[in-house]
C-alpha cells in the first residue's frame, strides 16, 4: 500500500514522504525544497529506512537515518532526521 504525508517542517522547508509499505517499509521517496550537502546522501537516507517495520517508532527511524549519515560530513538545511521520522510516522498512522 502507498502512504504519503507532506508538511512544512519546523526547520523551515517543505518535505513530502511517499512510502510503499506492507508489514515492512518496502520503498520510500523523500522530496522537497530543502538542502542537503552532499546531495547524494538523500539516497542513503532513503535506503536506511527501507526494511524497517511499518510500526517502527520515531527513535528507530531516526537511528537508522543517523547511521546513514555517520560516515559522511553532512550538512542538512531545512530538514532533519527527526522531521523525516515524524513525517513518516504521520504518513503511516
Amino acid at each position: 500500500m502507498m502512504f504519503q504525508a507532506k508538511k512544512k517542517v519546523k526547520e523551515g522547508k517543505v518535505i513530502k514522504v511517499e512510502l510503499d509499505c506492507d508489514e515492512l517499509i518496502r520503498n520510500v521517496r523523500i522530496t522537497g525544497d530543502f538542502f542537503l550537502h552532499p546531495e547524494d546522501i538523500l539516497e542513503e537516507i532513503e535506503k536506511s529506512i527501507v526494511g524497517l517495520e511499518r510500526n517502527a517508532d520515531v527513535w528507530t527511524i531516526i537511528s537508522s537515518i543517523q547511521r546513514a549519515l555517520q560516515s559522511r560530513d553532512v550538512q542538512m538545511i531545512g530538514i532533519s532526521p527527526e522531521s523525516i521520522a515524524l513525517l513518516i510516522r504521520e504518513a503511516l498512522a
Binding site: T31, H37, P38, G78
Partner: protein, 248 residues
C-alpha cells in the same frame, strides 16, 4: 587568483544550467577559472530544486501551452519561475575553500554581494537566512548552492519585474484556481526592483557587477570552446532528458 566575469547573456534553461556544471568541472580539472556570470532565460523557464518532484511542483500543461521550459537544477531549494524579462540570474563558481565551511555563513557572504549591489541603487536590502535577500520583509532574491569536488557553485535570481500571474500559473496552481487574493498574498511576500526604484535592467546589472567584483582581481571574459562543447553536451545528455527531469 584571477576571476573571470561573464557579463549579461541570454540562453535557454538547459544551456544555462549545463554551463554552470561545465564550469564546475573545468574548475575541478584546472581548465576553467573561478567565474561569476550574469544571465537571463529565453524562453522563460521553471527550475526546480534537485530534491523536488517535477510533477508535484510544476504545471507541465501550462508550461507547454506558454512555451516555458522546465528544468531540474543541480542545486537544492525550491521551484523558481524565471521570467524572460523579469529577473537577472547570477552564478558563482569558485573553490569552496574561499568561503566559510558553514553553508549559511557562505550564503551570507555571497548574498551580501547582492545586498550591497541593491543598496547602491538605494534599495534597503537585507540578507535573510538561509538563502534569501529581503526588502521590507519581502523576498527580492533567492539563491541555492552545491558543493562538489571542492567547488562551490551558487546561483540565484534577483527579481526585476516579476509577472506574478504567470508565476502562479506555472508553479502547479491551475489557472482556474488563481484568485486575486492569491496574487495579493504573493505580492505581500515577494517584491521586485521595479517596485522600489525606476532603473533599467542594465543599471541593475551594472550595480550587481560592481558589488560582485569589489575587491576581486578579475577580467571580463567569455567561454572557452571546451566549455561550450561540454555545456552543449550536458544540456542534451542530462538537463533535457526525461530521466533527469523526472528523477524525483
Amino acid at each position: 587568483m584571477k576571476w573571470r566575469i561573464v557579463e549579461l547573456e541570454t540562453h535557454d534553461a538547459y544551456f544555462n544550467m549545463a554551463m554552470d556544471e561545465a564550469i564546475s568541472e573545468g574548475l575541478m580539472n584546472g581548465s576553467s577559472p573561478p567565474t561569476i556570470r550574469f544571465y537571463t532565460w529565453k524562453p522563460g523557464a521553471v527550475s526546480i530544486g534537485y530534491f523536488q518532484s517535477m510533477k508535484d511542483e510544476v504545471n507541465l500543461d501550462t508550461c507547454r501551452e506558454f512555451g516555458i521550459d522546465v528544468i531540474r537544477r543541480w542545486t537544492g531549494g525550491g521551484a523558481v519561475y524565471h521570467d524572460a524579462k523579469g529577473e537577472i540570474t547570477y552564478s558563482m563558481i569558485a573553490p569552496a575553500s574561499l568561503f566559510p565551511k558553514n553553508i549559511i555563513k557562505s550564503y551570507e557572504v555571497i548574498c551580501g554581494w547582492i545586498v550591497d549591489g541593491l543598496r547602491t541603487l538605494g534599495i534597503d536590502a537585507v540578507f535573510s537566512p538561509v538563502n534569501d535577500v529581503l526588502v521590507g520583509g519581502k523576498k527580492i532574491s533567492g539563491s541555492a548552492q552545491t558543493r562538489r569536488g571542492g567547488i562551490l557553485l551558487q546561483h540565484g535570481t534577483v527579481l526585476y519585474d516579476t509577472d506574478l500571474g504567470t508565476m502562479f500559473s506555472v508553479l502547479n496552481v491551475s489557472r482556474q484556481k488563481i484568485t486575486d487574493k492569491m496574487i495579493q498574498t504573493a505580492q505581500e511576500r515577494v517584491t521586485s526592483i521595479s517596485k522600489h526604484i525606476n532603473a533599467d535592467k542594465k543599471d541593475v546589472f551594472l550595480a550587481l557587477l560592481r558589488s560582485f567584483t569589489k575587491d576581486k582581481d578579475y577580467e571580463t571574459g567569455t567561454w572557452s570552446e571546451n566549455e561550450i562543447f561540454r555545456a552543449k553536451a550536458l544540456a542534451e545528455q542530462k538537463y533535457k532528458t526525461e530521466e533527469w527531469s523526472f528523477l524525483r
